[in-house]
Symmetry: C2
Subunit: 316 residues, 2 copies
């Protein structure tokens, strides 16, 4: 049944891809076997991370890129990551709705994923979702993520090309640097660049880039100006993405990046397996019996963890 | 020597506290034993998380709170978390510098910590740093963190009271919701509220709060207006913090929260120990020998992790 699903995914059958993505997102039974099965069909798609502060117009830029890629006959998958909002549910997916028209394009597959709010949870599922779209024969996979923080660093570790979208309003570039965005960008996009102060902000970002030591692969980070709402500057952006893609391939740095991604992924799989395999009823009982003692300072977390792991260590 | 350091920390000796914080931040040798030793002296301090988008004036608000707490004869510790910026180093610590005047107050201890950019790294070290300040007899510990994303969720899991600072410019509250900030706030602060649109934004936030199901402990989230630069509204904010503190104590929800924090901390310690104990040269060699095979689709991450963990499982 999984083999059948894998075969259908390879034909880019939308229903099967959707089913697989749901399995992966929910980590439901069989999802690991599925991912294991499709793995050998992955690696062809170029993965583009698009990130930046809320309200920068990431979805609009993504939407324009999708259409342009489609015009060029390239197959695109989109994973849009939204923070979970327990009380608003889907109400925040306005951007997604704006994307629907692209979603109707035959070669485009768009999926919204909710962050689990759990450390590591975000990127693990996103990477695996990309693997599904990759096996489905997409040429480009766009990972769009909102927010400024840890999650972006994860995206940068998942994507081959990371694009940071800023707007003149995102204020002085120092704020963006504070948010750690300067470290991860392969390409900067200054969106809504028809607004006042765009040139000044673009200049500031360029100055900051010059402070940065050259990238290990010698890639020169550039700042492009777009106006997504008017579909302006998107062609130049796509050309720059193609340029970065071929740069990574020519320099062999794509392999370096992907090996790093593999190491990270294996580390996550391993941690997960070790933890899952660790817990049994006896250990759970021991932990629960000790929580109150720890809270009342009769014990401490370190001693409890030592005791919990002792018999495991003895076996080594 | 560790006992001596512990004793000095308990006397709030600034040099010893600084030394301990460095040990904890670098996870240098002895830091776990130190934390284990001071654990029984922790739990008295109330931990306040202050977060929000870059440029909201979090440091200014923190600065005002510190001074007010000091006037009231309360001891305060501050952990200011900045994303690591490999190429700018300390250059981003402008906010910290602005805090120096508070830093000179006898009962105030301020420490800047860099995020490691590693999953879990942020919160683990921050929590432990708070334990040091807690053992040093601080009444309040303020954890200030920049950015909008994963790291804030961690802070919310570390703090007893989480304050989200927004500004009229942070645009419509939907953007803040997208950033997941609405879920974690116990108190909202609209800073720079002398600016245009402040009342409108405050009203929007209040409306959104009403959409939210009541907190399990029955706490009512409020929106306070401040102008940090003019030290306005800080007294009301501190009163609200005191109110939340006693609410948590009265309802017994403080214990619930802290037990949750303990579980999280134990989970992190455990994962860390399991992973560290797992790797040996033989396993490392096996992984490195297989990376190229995985990259070339001759193998896959899942099979490699299975093989790596097999002998471990056999022992169970």
């Amino acid at each position: 049944m999984l083999n059948e699903l894998t075969e259908k995914i390879k034909t880019s059958d939308k229903r099967s891809v959707a089913k697989a993505l749901t399995m992966v997102e929910n980590e439901s039974e069989g999802s690991e076997d599925l991912l294991k099965g499709i793995y050998k069909f992955t690696g062809k798609a170029h993965r583009i991370g698009i990130t930046g502060p809320p309200g920068a117009g990431k979805s609009t830029v993504t939407n324009c890129l999708i259409k342009l890629l489609d015009e060029k006959g390239l197959k695109t998958g989109v994973i849009a990551v939204d923070p979970t909002s327990p009380f608003t549910g889907g109400a925040l997916l306005g951007d997604r709705i704006r994307m629907q028209d692209s979603g109707l394009l035959q070669n485009v597959f768009i999926r919204s994923m909710a962050t689990r709010g759990s450390l590591g949870g975000l990127c693990k599922n996103v990477t695996e979702a990309c693997d599904v779209l990759d096996a489905a024969g997409k040429d480009f996979i766009i990972i769009e993520t909102v927010g400024v923080g840890q999650s972006e660093l994860d995206i940068a570790q998942t994507a081959d090309t990371t694009i940071v979208v800023l707007v003149p309003e995102s204020g002085d570039a120092v704020q963006a640097m504070k948010a750690g965005l300067m470290e991860i960008a392969d390409i900067f996009v200054l969106n809504k660049s028809d607004r006042d102060g765009a040139d000044a902000v673009a200049a500031t970002i360029k100055n900051i880039i010059h402070l940065k030591p050259p990238a290990p692969d010698g890639w020169i980070i550039d700042v492009l100006k777009t106006t997504g709402s008017q579909n302006k500057g998107i062609g130049e952006l796509l050309d720059k993405i193609f340029e970065h893609k071929s740069h990574l391939e020519k320099t062999g740095y794509l392999k370096t990046k992907r090996i790093q991604q593999l190491k990270k992924k294996i580390g996550e799989l391993l941690t997960n397996k070790l933890t899952v395999n660790f817990w049994d009823n006896e250990k759970r009982k021991y932990l629960n019996d000790n929580l109150d003692l720890i809270y009342n300072k009769k014990s401490d977390p370190y001693s409890v963890v030592e005791t919990l792991t002792k018999d495991l260590l003895k076996r080594k």
